[in-house]
Symmetry: C3
Subunit: 145 residues, 3 copies
């Protein structure tokens, strides 16, 4: 617990960033979602992806395909982030850690909260907001790296 906490303005900015970013994904807007990553972003999900997604275009293509499947299956998907920790680098970029829950509800069906994930992001400032340059997702139950 030795590390300094970040100022409230910064912490709240990041909270709002995540609420909006994950909202874009959950609202079925894969192009806007992709726009929250840098052009050269790396999206890493050790337990799900053989290879990381490299670049905004790869993230966009992947999330479009994913949304198409969800639409066909009539599934509402939600990503909750919480338990956020933020630290600031000397260059003004941020390192964040958050817990995430992934959940889905099929049309007329029951809620299924199926994954607990730890999300490590590298955020960089862009035009007064933030973009994700690197995201590393680690699924609980997949073994320690």
């Amino acid at each position: 617990m030795q590390d300094a906490t970040v100022p409230a303005e910064l912490y709240v900015q990041v909270q709002q960033f995540y609420a909006r970013q994950m909202g874009l994904l959950d609202d079925g807007r894969p192009d806007d979602w992709a726009g929250t990553f840098t052009e050269d972003a790396v999206f890493q999900e050790a337990s799900r992806l053989d290879e990381p997604l490299r670049g905004r275009e790869a993230i966009r293509a992947s999330s479009r395909a994913r949304q198409k499947r969800l639409d066909e299956q009539k599934i509402d998907f939600r990503h909750w982030l919480g338990m956020l920790d933020v630290s600031r680098n000397d260059d003004g970029s941020l390192r964040t850690r958050a817990y995430a829950l992934a959940m889905r509800t099929p049309r007329g069906g029951a809620l299924d909260i199926f994954a607990s994930v730890v999300c490590h992001d590298h955020l960089v400032p862009v035009n007064g907001s933030w973009q994700v340059r690197h995201r590393d997702l680690h699924h609980d139950g997949s073994g320690r790296d």
Copy 2:
């Protein structure tokens, strides 16, 4: 992500408002809960209510009846809100969006997280705090409006 974020003081006020507001409901205090809505509040839950609840008295009556059922069934109920986004209107009122999870635990029984809901509120400033003038709840799995 083009929208401005709100100042930390405001965002945190709203976080605390929701923690306390939902706490009143979950603590079995329907009258205090009703007091967090304006006299003319509208409570809309497309997938659960045929007609919106109109006015604080209707909200009070509905939540008293609900609490009576929970007491009889010995059920602890929790409403989690998270992934909060807040935007400010020119008139000083707020529009909020949050994800919500509804969960219940019967006496001696297992936790059941049974609904993922998106909550859109219109909050108005009253005596240094906030009241809900309009709440719109949309349950995942109930179909897009």
Copy 3:
């Protein structure tokens, strides 16, 4: 809802404190976890513990034993806190209330969110951060005190 809200800097400090504190427990660092409690801390969990844990050393011993079991069983454990309310005492200490979810994922197995808990803490300022002097956990479904 008559109580004043606390300033954003304080509220966010406490949010970060909990993200880091519970992160230490979930990351399998029972000694660092114990260090977030005062030497004379009391840890009370009415529905699980016959007697409260009294003192940091008792908390350390208990959490080491717990971690050993989780390691043997290859279980990832997460504690989510949310719906945080904070109030400040005249002496500079804090009273907090938060909802908590306890969840586990066995290696290769499914996520199980198995308990909803209400956490009441007494936090005291130590070296620019906070320590828990008293924690009271109440499990939903265990009956009202």
